[in-house]
Subunit: 236 residues, 2 copies
């Protein structure tokens, strides 16, 4: 697959250098020695350590298949350690029966996102059809995150931008279905240490919300890292 991509899409020629990486391994450069109908042969220099494991795990109420398909590569590109997909009251049961949850379908999309972001850490994916046992019994083993946040479109929620302080460790971020979590789910999450945060008053589609939440979470922390410029320099 990758050889065909290199030959037919990248149109590599002998002598050319390619950025390469091993899934869950090191990164580096490969020089093309041979590229023909049978194979692409590379001389590899894997001299760069893998990027650190991303500092956020995602607990995501399974979105509609079309939205989930769009999310795989974007989540891998943004960088998440784990993608924990769950059922919820406002998730339709038949979403679980789609091709988009077949590893043979989503793994190439995750790899595409990693290639885009020049990362090699493949997000770990687990799929859970029952919310309560997941949250009560399985979550502690799945994610080692120190800080647990649940995104909810509640106008009174604290801004996600202020939720992650530098040095607070890894985050497990729970993102609900488009209609939001229900009361029972929010209570269960609160009982397990999740604090409600939001992005402001504009409800967003699940894919836009995931990307925006991950970006806002990290930016909120980065804006308060000592040593990074807190005041903008004059725009000139």
């Amino acid at each position: 697959m990758q050889a065909r991509h290199a030959r037919d899409v990248l149109r590599v020629v002998p002598g050319q250098d390619l950025r390469i990486g091993i899934v869950d391994g090191p990164r580096g450069m490969g020089r093309v020695l041979r590229a023909d109908a049978e194979a692409v042969e590379l001389e590899c220099m894997l001299d760069t350590d893998p990027a650190p494991v991303p500092d956020v795990d995602l607990l995501l109420a399974l979105p509609r298949p079309k939205v989930m398909r769009r999310l795989w590569a974007q989540l891998a590109a943004l960088g998440v350690g784990r993608i924990i997909l769950t059922n919820a009251a406002r998730v339709e049961r038949n979403y679980f029966d789609t091709h988009v949850l077949d590893p043979a379908r989503y793994r190439p999309l995750l790899v595409e996102g990693l290639q885009q972001a020049r990362d090699t850490h493949l997000p770990r994916v687990t799929i859970h059809r029952r919310f309560r046992p997941l949250v009560e019994d399985e979550l502690d083993a799945l994610s080692s995150a120190d800080l647990r946040l649940v995104a909810h479109p509640d106008p009174g929620a604290d801004a996600i931008a202020g939720a992650w302080t530098p040095g607070a460790g890894r985050v497990l971020l729970a993102v609900g279905p488009e209609g939001g979590w229900d009361e029972f789910e929010l209570r269960l999450l609160a009982d397990r240490g999740f604090r409600i945060v939001g992005l402001g008053p504009r409800p967003l589609r699940a894919d836009t919300a995931c990307v925006a939440l991950l970006a806002a979470l990290r930016a909120g922390r980065d804006a308060r890292v000592p040593g990074t410029p807190h005041a903008s320099s004059p725009a000139s």
Copy 2:
């Protein structure tokens, strides 16, 4: 179109209340008086002022049509005052000849994004095939932004999270093509007051980058608004 949507998708029935809004006008509720094959008749209470004009304008190097199609609704949902589409050295010329730049195609997508976000401010869209006259002669009239930022995947760039201080006014954010701006373009933008900012070391696809940049920009400011919690409360 909207009547058909209300009848066939929302399946409204007489007596039901709908959230409504007038493009570039007020918002409110509508009670369904009649819904049949001919029309949907509403009694409207437009008692909520339009949301304020979004505080960010976007100058975007035209992405490939497939990506641009995905962006329209997301940009309207996130909230931008203007979408200024431009050519750049790494934009392919034929991107300008696509249906996706036809107002009849993109306006419904913008409205879809506004409906999602419960906003009524339709982003103003302009399309510019020549970068230099746009930046040198037209930009000042197009955007009243006080702060000009250009996103560029340069590892040495300041974090966008730290770029927007509370009280700094509106922002004009320039986002380049997937290969980045070229040297000439960056110099021209710098000459017109744009400061280079970045999202960190992970290159992102244009649509992911736009959503993440807008979210990170606002979150970086919000994290430093006096009065919002700067330290996370215990997650319990």
